[in-house]
């Protein structure tokens, strides 16, 4: 079974600074997807960024980028130029490439606060 570990429960960053959220996972599969989801307080969970395991290039979405280290099974999220709206709970998640019912395996999440 796959597992996802987010060992830091909370982090804080100064507005306009850069922060990195850590995630490690364990799997015996060679092909899979990894995601970072954002859940603001009392608001909808939305996808921040995705990474296909077969792609060596790290995914980037505007101020959000990942450092994907497949051999180390590490998938960290870097948020550049942090904004107040980035304050949220962030979940790292894994899903298999195959399987019609593909489920998400979530980490425990990390609460990010942004200091003005």
């Amino acid at each position: 079974a796959q597992t996802v570990t987010q060992s830091q429960p909370e982090m804080s960053v100064q507005e306009a600074e850069t922060v990195t959220l850590s995630c490690t996972y364990d799997t015996s599969e060679s092909d899979y997807y990894l995601f970072w989801y954002k859940q603001p307080p009392s608001r909808q969970m939305i996808l921040v960024i995705r990474q296909e395991a077969y792609k060596q290039q790290n995914a980037t979405e505007n101020r959000f980028s990942v450092n994907f280290q497949k051999a180390a099974k590490s998938f960290s999220l870097k948020i550049s130029d942090s904004q107040l709206g980035d304050a949220a709970m962030y979940f790292c998640a894994y899903t298999s490439l195959t399987g019609a019912n593909s489920k998400l395996t979530f980490g425990k999440g990390i609460t990010l606060s942004v200091r003005p």
Binding site: Y33, Q44, R50, A100, N101, L104, G107, G109
Partner: protein, 114 residues
């Protein structure tokens, strides 16, 4: 905009009184999921449908049931809510193709049990 809609957003029920939460989607996705999320925790998958095929997680209590009358709608029934069932309930959908495997989440229904 195509989206996942959950009603009601807030639901208060009494201990032991059956309650139904609803989810609808305009994405025409054939997979629908129900999650339970307690405060500051990760969502916990209760069950999901692939089309009409129902898949129950092994540790989902019998108190929780689900119905999917058509592609667009899915319901979560809690037959006898207990205080421990107070939580946010999230509905999510996914397109049937394996491409990306991204799930799209609704805003959730916060259930309070008195």
């Amino acid at each position: 905009d195509a989206m996942v809609i959950q009603n009601p957003r807030y639901q208060v029920t009494q201990f032991g009184k059956p309650v139904t939460l609803s989810c609808s989607q305009t994405l025409n996705h054939n997979v629908m999921y129900w999650y339970q999320q307690k405060s500051s925790q990760a969502p916990k998958l209760l069950f999901h449908y692939y089309d009409k095929d129902f898949n129950n997680e092994a540790d989902t209590p019998d108190n929780f049931q689900s119905r999917r009358p058509n592609t667009s709608f899915c319901f979560l029934d809690i037959r006898s809510p207990g205080l421990g069932d107070a939580a946010m309930y999230l509905c999510a959908t996914r397109g049937g193709r394996a491409y990306y495997n991204e799930q799209f989440f609704g805003p959730g229904t916060r259930l309070t049990v008195l």
